[in-house]
Symmetry: C2
Subunit: 306 residues, 2 copies
């Protein structure tokens, strides 16, 4: 960005690097992969030193629309990243990019080819949602929905009598990310309950009656917690009197100390430091521990059958 | 699987094809990519005709553990799929697989290289979570958490006075997937409210007062809906008397017809057929429509700035 004559900020469009993402499906795979790869350029993306814009086009299942998008991408000096199950579509994308002198990456092709070789089976070449596909009313489908619904009802210490039905129980002081973390895990099919720790408030008896191997404590740096709580109090519009101590440093420290003592009294619970962790990172740590504890004899990891 | 002499089912392990997945981060990217690629083999995975097991190893950031996993993978006749930001780790994985004669695919390397060329910037080579990284207390971080918390509170028609604060409002009869869909969209940063349509029950006034461009109707095939409702009633343990009509075909049809009339009276609301769609597929359709309506002049797609 730079400043024009009139004093207004105008974006120098030539410096913004567009990435076009195309999928015949939802586009979530290509978006996820590009996001991970962009993590490798954080040093340069920060403060938009080298600004990048992404554009996601999902449900692209005919060559005409594909070519329209690629033409537009070429015009803007973009690169193309795609997941196209139909080999003809994928090859068309590749050739068109070559023709327009535009860099391109196929996310689905290489992994599909190598799985095909491994299994000794040819890929279908059919995009998801192609008719004739099996309807996904699988056990897995029902399990996930049930997990999400369970987790929503359990949020914030509600229904402590149901703690025994949870796969995973999270506990920690306010603003350690219990709710978003619970929801993230629920979408992966785990029933999660979360129990807030509040200084001076007794924890529900049930928390100490459930299998301690499924309870996880969350902790956080006091300074960071204060920052988050201040933002929270502001967005909720707490009045100065009511809960004024919620984001005060002394109170924050005392509450974390109270939590630390609860954790010390329950040494089986792993305590996870969430400072500097994104929600999905904390989720990965929890699921790693969860599965390692369940399968003590095999190699640590998360296994699934297809 | 086959039956042994003793009559017990034993798995013929040679026929199960293992896929080992390794990441220095959470492992969600490699898991997501392998999942998408396995979709190309559904014809063969169904009923475990060609059974596949996946094993996910996350947080692998030293060569020793990497080599241990690859050795185990080789022993089991597996293939390896990996995301390793450190070029030395990635190269080690590649060479070790070659040595053991094991197929392998690098998910992160190719896309990172091509983005590097596009931006004219070298990748950091640092895995996520490497110290010295920026703490992710970004606006985006707060926005997502707020969206999840808003959406949970709004679930199932709660707090209709807040419909105006939602980015997206979903409406449809029970078991069209409003709750899991709301949560899925919330995790992407959208504040979602959902309003159930129940035959003979008046809809909240607020639903007709909000911007109709943000309301989405959900509909489903009656037979499929009945199947889902039967499963639901069973898992909730509905007594025969109470709501016995909930999953009766006549009632299901009448309720869907009631919803159809509501939708007909509100022609601006797009009506989305969720039969045969996974949650993430319906989410993709909704977000496509949502963004197209917001940016009527530009190409349809979802854009983001980095
Ligand atoms: N269940 C599935 N069956 C067939 N193809 C799939 C499946 N899931 C994902 N794909 C393909 O994998 C790629 C990424 O999917 P998506 O994340 O929906 O964009 C697309 O080319 C999809 O067509
Ligand atoms: N924010 C980030 N910064 C640096 N690397 C990242 C970031 N996010 C993901 N990655 C890398 O992308 C790959 C996939 O990440 P994950 O999905 O966490 O397994 C791993 O090699 C990570 O180290
Ligand atoms: Mg909470
Ligand atoms: Mg619901």
């Amino acid at each position: 960005a730079t400043v024009s004559d009139s004093g207004h900020e105008v974006e120098v469009t030539t410096s913004v690097k567009p990435i076009y993402m195309v999928s015949d499906g939802t586009g979530w795979t290509v978006e996820h992969s590009v996001n991970a790869a962009l993590g490798q350029f954080e040093h340069c993306l920060v403060d938009r030193v080298c600004p990048v814009n992404t554009h996601l086009f999902s449900g692209i299942d005919d060559v005409e629309r594909l070519m329209e998008i690629i033409k537009q991408a070429a015009k803007e000096g973009a690169m193309l990243v795609y997941t196209l199950a139909d080999p003809y579509m994928a090859e068309s994308a590749k050739q068109a990019c070559k023709l327009w002198g535009m860099p391109s990456t196929d996310i689905l092709g290489p992994i599909t080819e190598s799985i095909a070789a491994h299994l000794g089976v040819s890929p279908s070449g059919l995009p998801r949602g192609a008719s004739g596909r099996n309807f996904p009313l699988s056990d897995e489908y029902f399990r996930r929905i049930e997990a999400v619904e369970f987790t929503i009802k359990q949020d914030d210490g509600a229904l402590p009598q149901n703690l025994c039905k949870a796969d995973i129980v999270l506990t920690g002081v306010s603003r350690t990310g219990k709710t978003p973390l619970s929801i993230y895990l629920a979408q992966k099919g785990y029933k999660v309950a979360n129990v807030p720790i509040v200084k001076g408030v007794a924890l529900p008896k049930g928390l100490f009656e459930v299998d301690p191997e499924k309870v996880f404590g969350l902790t956080i740096n006091p300074l960071v917690l204060q920052t988050i709580r201040k933002a929270r109090a502001k967005s909720l519009g707490f009045s100065k009197e009511a809960r004024s101590n919620y984001s005060e440093m002394d109170y924050v420290r005392q509450e974390l100390e109270f939590a630390r003592r609860v954790f010390a009294q329950n040494p089986v619970w792993p305590v996870i430091e969430v400072t500097e962790k994104a929600i999905e990172e904390t989720a990965a740590v929890i699921l790693r521990l969860y599965h390692d504890r369940k399968h003590k004899c095999s190699m640590p990891g998360i296994s699934k059958r297809y």
